[in-house]
């Protein structure tokens, strides 16, 4: 892809996908499952950021919070309220789980906005694991809580009897598509935005276009900042919605 772009524009160098390459941190060996890679580095930075915000930031337990503690409390309150509103009071048991997902995604997204960084959430492998974890958790939880009554979510009792089998089929398909859409939405958003920024950055090499290019990068960067948060929010709130289905399968 990059080679084609190079050929067409003559002299312009586009490597929009290079930023997503997983490579070892030390040396050039093959990427084994245990190899410390840039994935390891940026995930470690994500953990570090979360620790800084939620652990170090709140270490004084101040009644009148400092700025960092205030932000940490806002994050806590934001996710807590989301879980409570969407999944209900009994969903609050799973609040740490959703908080983990939200904090990981939001920090991975924002760290990915740093120049020269690596966006872990732009990889389908990462988001698929997150989505499948949610899917499995919710499905197992549903069956554990309600046994086969959980299957009621596929059988819409308000609909006319004739339509119910058709609706059930649609519901089952949509249920199994959930992890796919859940994961590809996040990875696709992150990848697309970052790639577009790189493409515009490539145009900056042409003097006549470079002011426009820089403006466009700025604009897209602003959009990406928004998208980074919104995608984390969407991921978390969808998890809450699925959790609600598992806890209350009767519509």
């Amino acid at each position: 892809m990059s080679a084609e772009a190079e050929a067409e524009t003559g002299g312009l160098v586009f490597h929009p996908m290079d930023q997503f390459v997983v490579q070892p941190l030390f040396g050039d060996g093959p990427v084994m499952w245990y190899t410390p890679t840039n994935v390891t580095l940026w995930m470690a930075l994500t953990v570090l950021s979360i620790v800084l915000l939620l652990v170090v930031g709140t270490r004084r337990r101040a009644i009148v919070p400092t700025r960092t503690q205030s932000v940490g409390e806002m994050a806590y309150g934001f996710v807590y309220k989301m879980v409570e509103d969407v999944a209900g009071k009994d969903g609050l048991r799973y609040f740490p789980y959703i908080m983990t997902l939200f904090m990981f995604i939001v920090f991975a997204n924002f760290l990915g906005l740093l120049p020269m960084s690596f966006t872990t959430t732009s990889h389908i492998a990462v988001t698929a694991v997150l989505a499948i974890a949610v899917f499995l958790t919710v499905t197992i939880l549903g069956f554990v809580k309600h046994g086969f009554g959980f299957l009621n979510i596929f059988w819409i009792s308000q609909a006319p009897l004739v339509l119910r089998p058709i609706l059930a089929l649609i519901e089952i398909i949509s249920y199994f598509v959930r992890p796919v859409s859940h994961s590809i939405r996040l990875a696709g958003n992150m990848m697309a935005g970052h790639a577009v920024i790189k493409v515009f950055a490539g145009f900056a090499a042409i003097l006549a276009i470079s002011p426009f290019s820089i403006l466009a990068i700025t604009a897209i960067y602003a959009l990406e900042t928004l998208v980074s948060f919104i995608q984390a929010y969407v991921f978390a709130i969808l998890t809450c919605v699925y959790l609600k289905d598992a806890l209350h399968p009767h519509h």
Binding site: F20, V21, P30, T37, V39, T46, I63, T120
Partner: protein, 187 residues
């Protein structure tokens, strides 16, 4: 499996030549999946344990504590407000009492003054009475003496007139005549 290894090897070789050149979509490079998944699971577990063991309980306790402090402060403020209202009531009551006391004192003083005044007026009246009686006595004495004088003068004058007219009259007849005339005049 073999292709995967080959792919990895090719990728490694390429990244050795160029810093890191993407071949197609790196997202679909399955050779890196196990690596990413391994580190992701480790990361998620780390975040989960940090959050559920340290961060979330701490933030929850801070928020609860703050809520408690705010509630206490509001209760204390409520109490102080109540006290202020009580103090105002007490003040108003004291003020009313003081006013009533002042009124009472004023009335008492007024009554006392009235008594004194009455006494003084009575005394003055009595004195005035005495003085009036004395004066009346003096006036009547003066009037009496004036009447006597008039009699004397009338006698003298009558004697003189009688003498001038060429008559002579003894003192007794003149006196009786004058007295009779005076009685008639005074009547």
């Amino acid at each position: 499996m073999a292709t995967e290894v080959e792919e990895t090897a090719g990728h490694a070789a390429e990244s050795a030549g160029h810093a890191a050149e993407a071949v197609g979509m790196p997202q679909l490079d399955f050779s890196t999946f196990s690596n990413q998944i391994f580190w992701l699971v480790l990361t998620l577990l780390a975040i989960y344990f940090i959050l559920s063991r340290i961060a979330l309980p701490r933030i929850a306790s801070v928020l609860a504590e703050r809520q408690g402090t705010i509630t206490n402060d509001i209760a204390a403020a409520e109490e102080l407000k109540l006290k202020a209202v009580e103090a105002e009531d007490a003040y108003n009551k004291a003020l009313a009492e003081a006013r009533a006391e002042a009124n009472r004192i004023i009335a008492e003083t007024k009554a006392e003054i009235q008594v004194d005044l009455d006494k003084a007026i009575a005394k003055a009246d009595a004195e005035i009475g005495v003085k009036t009686a004395e004066a009346e006595k003096a006036i009547s004495a003066i009037r009496e003496s004036a009447a006597d004088n008039v009699k004397e003068v009338a006698k003298e004058a009558a004697k003189e007139i009688v003498a001038v007219l060429g008559g002579s009259a003894d003192a007794r007849s003149i006196t009786s005549a004058v007295t009779a005339r005076l009685k008639g005049a005074s009547r």
